[in-house]
């Protein structure tokens, strides 16, 4: 029982990331009808916003401190970050410590801007082109974005720790009445899950309860009719693209403490997220989220050593196998609607 709960919990954080990326993919696909292979790159860019912010906060100047000596007996050079100098040591160290959550705020405008630029500059010209062209051009864009990041940050993963307050693990077992130390769960993963649940909630509420969201949903269902009613649906779709970019970016920002980002982190998630979208049902937002969590949890179960002993290598392929089975038995995915991407 403990083992099962533990695996479910372990699957949640990966599942959250899949769900967030798949949500963005589905939004873009449902509104603009574009298959975005560069969506993983947006996730990666978000992660590197966090890395950059941490570096910016850590920019320091050197002062010679006469009172301290280093191991050679010379006066020691002390590095003081500018933020500590400007805002005082407490605020400064707080900023550095909390750089990842702060990066969330910074990332929202940046990712929105990237999203708008990407849509207006590139994707817009591909609405009428075949899906193959869309896949190829966004695939090229993903390579370009990756390589630019690689040129600036190198190829190695860059560790970006969570705030001090969230280091360590939460003893989840005690809450449920198990022995202490049986179900330990890192705080930050809990935060990640809560964060993604909130984001998903916001996106859904936005689409369901606002007029803007209603128009967008109407546009997803029948773009032409909405246009005939005199609504500039294209402008709203641009905003949806920006929102999808923000969602992917935030997923990336918050994921940095869990997995140190490198330039191809996005592609690893993208391939799986596509599978998630396909399993969930193309064009179905709820399906994307549900399938994201489902596959994340499934993957963590498959990584259990007991399971691997029976079927070696299952942890590497379980998601793909599920995708194959789902596509063969329910070609529209778990919650796909009729008429969406049938060809």
């Amino acid at each position: 029982m403990e083992a099962i709960i533990l695996q479910v919990l372990n699957g949640l954080d990966k599942g959250s990331a899949y769900a967030l990326i798949a949500l963005g993919l589905t939004l873009i696909f449902g509104t603009l009808g574009v298959v975005n292979f560069a969506h993983g790159a947006l996730f990666m860019l978000g992660a590197f916003v966090a890395v950059t912010l941490r570096r910016v906060f850590n920019l320091s100047f050197e002062t010679i401190d006469e009172t301290q000596t280093d191991f050679l007996g010379n006066p020691m050079a002390v590095q003081t970050p500018y933020v500590e100098h400007w805002f005082g040591p407490e605020v400064g160290s707080f900023l550095i410590d909390w750089s990842v959550p702060i990066a969330v705020l910074v990332a929202i405008p940046i990712m929105a801007l990237i999203g708008v630029v990407m849509e207006r500059g590139l994707i817009k010209h591909f609405y009428k082109r075949p899906h193959a062209d869309q896949i190829l051009v966004t695939f090229g864009l993903a390579i370009v974005l990756q390589e630019i990041v690689k040129a600036f940050y190198g190829a190695n993963p860059i560790p970006t720790p969570a705030p001090e307050a969230f280091v360590g693990s939460f003893d989840f077992g005690v809450l449920l009445g198990f022995d202490p130390f049986t179900i330990m769960y890192p705080y930050w993963r809990l935060v990640y899950f809560g964060f993604s649940a909130i984001i998903i909630g916001i996106v859904f509420a936005f689409l369901r309860f606002t007029t803007f969201g209603m128009v967008v949903r109407a546009g997803m269902a029948d773009r032409e009719t909405v246009g005939l009613l005199g609504i500039d649906i294209d402008r709203r779709f641009v905003i949806m693209f920006a929102i999808a970019a923000v969602v992917a970016g935030l997923a990336g920002v918050m994921y940095t403490p869990i997995l140190s980002p490198n330039y191809h982190i996005g592609m690893e998630f993208l391939v799986l997220s596509f599978v998630v979208v396909v399993v969930g049902g193309m064009g179905s937002l709820a399906g994307a989220v549900a399938a994201g969590f489902l596959l994340g949890i499934l993957q963590s179960f498959a990584s259990m050593s007991q399971v691997i002993e029976i079927i070696p290598g299952i942890n590497q392929v379980v998601i793909y196998l599920v995708a194959v089975v789902v596509l063969l038995t329910r070609p529209r995915g778990l919650m796909g609607r009729k008429g969406v991407m049938e060809e």
Partner: protein, 401 residues
Amino acid sequence: MLGLNKADARLYLIVLGMLVFAPFLLNPFPETSGLSQFNAGYPDMMQKLAIFGIFAVGYNLLFGLTGYLSFGHAAFIGIGSFSGMWVMKLLTMNVIPALIIAMLVSGVFALLIGYVSLRRSGIYFSILTLAFAQMCYSLSYSVLTPITGGETGLSLSLDDPRILGASQTETGNIPVPHLFGLDMSAATTIDVGAWNFTFSAGYYFAAVIMAIAFYLTIRLFRSPFGLMLRAIKSNQTRMSYTGLNPRPYTLAVFVISGMYAGLAGGLMIAMDPQAGSERMLWTASGEVVLMTILGGAGTLVGPILGAGFIVYLESIISTIGSTVLYNWFGGLPEGLSNFLVAIIYPFVGKGWHLTLGLVFMLVVIFLPGGIVEGGKRIGGLFRRKKTEETTDTTSSAEPGE
């Protein structure tokens, strides 16, 4: 000739001529000049050109004719390489059995993957093939390490059984791949003035295979089977209304193009007997898509041009370092040369993938028909000028659609 019509025969002869005279054509610069690094007439490079030519030609059969965009074709290259390696390890260093087994095994895998993937079309098909390729890749990196060598890759060793050959040569070395005794790495060099032309057995073997593969491709293009495939691309629904089931045709062409890829993978190890899992990575699959598109998907000669262009560009660009750049711009004022180097440097050497991505985007955006379409457009410009001058009197009698 050989069942080809006149235009095809001419095209085939041109390609054949290019293959035969490649050591001359790709070596235009004398050895002593500074431009000699743009020469591509050395065996490794020419072999790679022929191998990727085969790969792209086979991929074009699937993508160019039916429009099914497979994103997992590199898996078949890897499968072909690994199965060929095992033939060399267990049976013999002769390349023919290795190639045949490589084709058969990758054909079987293509049958399995195609059977599942081809139930869906469009983007679903792309994602499914991508998923299968990633599956092959991650399996070969983890569980299948005894078969694939995992991270270190698979290479020959002195204690391989090699039932039909020898485990070791008399001098105690690992034997080299050969064709009935003809050493694949054998080469003769002819010096003509400042030029040295290298004729390698390996290249000409690959070129012969490529010539056969290309001939089969032309026949497939012009066959009723090829017409069926085009029908699938243009309108699958209409095709099924006329009582034809498209599935067997797509599956057949998927297997054929998988076997082409397996053949290319087998040739890779015939030239250089080692195989690694990174051959199956999705970027490799993306590269063959790019080759096909860049040359012109659905055309006969396009994929060969695209493959040649990409392979050449890759090997040239990735060898340019900052010192080479400084050599080039050495004559310019220092500030200007530093500026130029700073601008160009991210795109060359290790930044080759950046250039690749940019080329990819530019081609898809501006030239979806590839080099072949570009050539036609340019040709069309000249021709139109001529016809405007001469055919003013005769009104155009082109029949309408």
